[in-house]
């Protein structure tokens, strides 16, 4: 499968929990995913990080967000709402990765425009498999828009 564009895609992980970030980081390596990984520890940090990227000089890059729903300060739901209301951030693909099991969170997340909703697995193998599939789907198959105004 050949992609038309070949912009580098960065991954921003919005995750307040150190253990989960450790699992994500390591399972990405295990899945042979070489994209640059950046962490935001809450919704506020995520938004300022993304906004700074839009303005950043240099070659255009794309970004996708791995979003935890339950975070301090601004939680994932609010951050998502703000992203979707922003003229540029609205186009950024968002993958929700959460422990939430509530049907309400699933419905609300899609209503707010997430691209997919994944439950955190209870095993490292599970993390590796998710990262492997995300890698194949988002970085090998689909086109992602550049992150600039």
């Amino acid at each position: 499968m050949t992609k038309r564009t070949a912009l580098p895609v960065d991954i921003v992980v919005a995750e307040d929990d150190d253990d989960d970030y450790y699992f994500i980081e390591n399972s990405f390596k295990e899945a042979h995913c070489s994209n640059a990984l950046t962490r935001a520890k809450d919704g506020e940090e995520l938004l300022s990080l993304l906004l700074a990227r839009i303005e950043a000089p240099g070659t255009p890059r794309s970004v996708i967000v791995l979003l935890d729903l339950n975070m301090p300060k601004k939680d994932g739901r609010e951050a998502l709402k703000d992203m979707r209301a922003h003229p540029v951030l609205r186009r950024v693909p968002v993958v929700v990765l959460t422990t939430s099991q509530s049907d309400e969170d699933i419905v609300r997340s899609y209503d707010l425009g997430v691209n997919c909703f994944i439950r955190k697995p209870a095993s490292f193998e599970g993390f590796v498999e998710i990262m492997d599939r995300l890698n194949k789907f988002w970085f090998e198959l689909v086109e992602i828009p550049p992150l600039h105004a």
Binding site: D19, F23, N26, T99, Q101, K120, A122, S123, F124, E125, F127
Partner: protein, 367 residues
């Protein structure tokens, strides 16, 4: 009463009746067919906070809170029109000072010799204490379920991490001495079991928390789906499940699937090793708009002295190693059935198989 000719014991005199009426600690009243109070005893008057003079000529509606007590009115109406011989209702009543209490009213129609309805007798008891106890119980059960659900929910996070780190550590276990590897394996398997318990507890809490409206559910379809889900253990044990014609019930479809999946899974699971499970599911219609469904097996059974225990959460009556599980399945079944206003019971003996019978409501329009 008056028409009884063949009394062996001496009849009550009018004085006896009068004294009994007056002394009875339960509220008694005689009403006309127009539902006006003709005579009331001291307990009746006291329960309602009236004096004898004040209660005379009152009608039932005067004793009910405004806009309430339709059941009580309907009962007395049916009685006075001779459509009913006697019945009881629970309703809120209003005292003379305006305060309200829960009362149990039972009433009967007195007929004259020609069978014509003549008067009504009413028995009224204050059941406020019982109602309060019931409400308290409901509330404390609801709180308990909430705590269980919150506890289980919060326990999910740490156990998920123990499992994940355990797995990462497991990848490096080559560097551990044999004892260390065993210890790691044991702690990982304990964590897996803890996760199962938490998942089961959450499922149990959800049965009792989620309330979806009932709709007609075809149990034939439900059983077909359940057998599909259980096809793996069925094939592995060479088991057979015979399903007779089943009714359409008034229920929550998801909970019906939960109920019968648990019952059939148990019937398959609790069998002698090496003996293929033989399960039958049959049903019959009961009077009163209900149906009884029976799930019967020829498995190991259980001693009926444990009947109370098997429906309690996390109670098990057989060896955990031979028949693993958390003991939540039948508690879930009981929760589901009770949610539907039905009942569940079981008959069994050790080695003689078990049969579980659930009573469920039929849709109202059913013949």
């Amino acid at each position: 009463m008056g028409t009884q000719q063949t009394t062996a014991s001496p009849a009550l005199t009018d004085d006896d009746c009068r004294a009994l009426f007056e002394q009875c600690p339960v509220g008694l009243a005689v009403l006309g067919l127009d539902r006006r109070i003709v005579k009331a005893n001291a307990a009746f008057v006291a329960t309602l906070g009236y004096s004898q003079a004040q209660i005379a000529e009152r009608v039932l509606a005067d004793l009910l809170p405004a806009g309430e007590g339709k059941d009580a009115e309907a009962l007395m109406g049916r009685l006075s029109r001779s459509e009913d011989g006697g019945a009881a209702v629970e309703s809120r009543f209003q005292r003379r000072d305006g305060s309200v209490f829960w009362g149990a009213l039972s009433a009967a129609l007195i007929r004259d010799e020609s069978g014509e309805g003549r008067r009504l007798v009413a028995v009224l008891r204050d059941i406020s204490l019982r109602k309060k106890a019931e409400a308290d119980l409901l509330r404390s059960n609801a709180e308990l379920e909430l705590y269980a659900s919150i506890a289980a929910h919060d326990l999910q996070e740490p156990v998920r991490k123990i499992l994940t780190y355990g797995e990462i550590l497991g990848k490096m276990s080559d560097g551990l001495p044999p004892d260390g590897r065993t210890a790691l394996e044991k702690s990982r398997s304990a964590a897996r079991r803890m996760k199962e318990l938490i998942d089961d507890l959450l499922e149990y809490a959800r049965v009792n928390a989620v309330r979806r409206p009932s709709a007609p559910v075809d149990l034939n379809v439900v059983l077909k789906e359940v057998l599909d889900e259980l096809s793996e253990p069925l094939a592995a044990s060479a088991g057979k499940v015979a399903v007779g014609p089943l009714p359409v019930v008034d229920a929550d479809e998801l909970q019906m699937r939960q109920l019968f999946r648990n019952l059939v899974a148990n019937a398959i699971k609790f069998t002698e090793p090496g003996r293929p499970p033989a399960v039958t599911v049959t049903a019959e219609t009961l009077s009163g708009g209900q149906a009884r469904v029976e799930v019967k097996d020829e498995g190991i059974g259980f001693d009926e002295k444990y009947l109370d225990r098997i429906f309690r959460p996390f109670q098990r009556v057989c060896d955990k190693n031979a028949y693993p599980g958390s003991g939540i399945g039948l508690a879930i079944c009981q929760g589901v059935v009770q949610r539907h206003g039905g009942s569940i019971t079981a008959r069994s003996a050790p080695g003689k198989g078990a049969s579980f019978r659930v009573v469920l409501p039929l849709p109202r329009s059913a013949p």
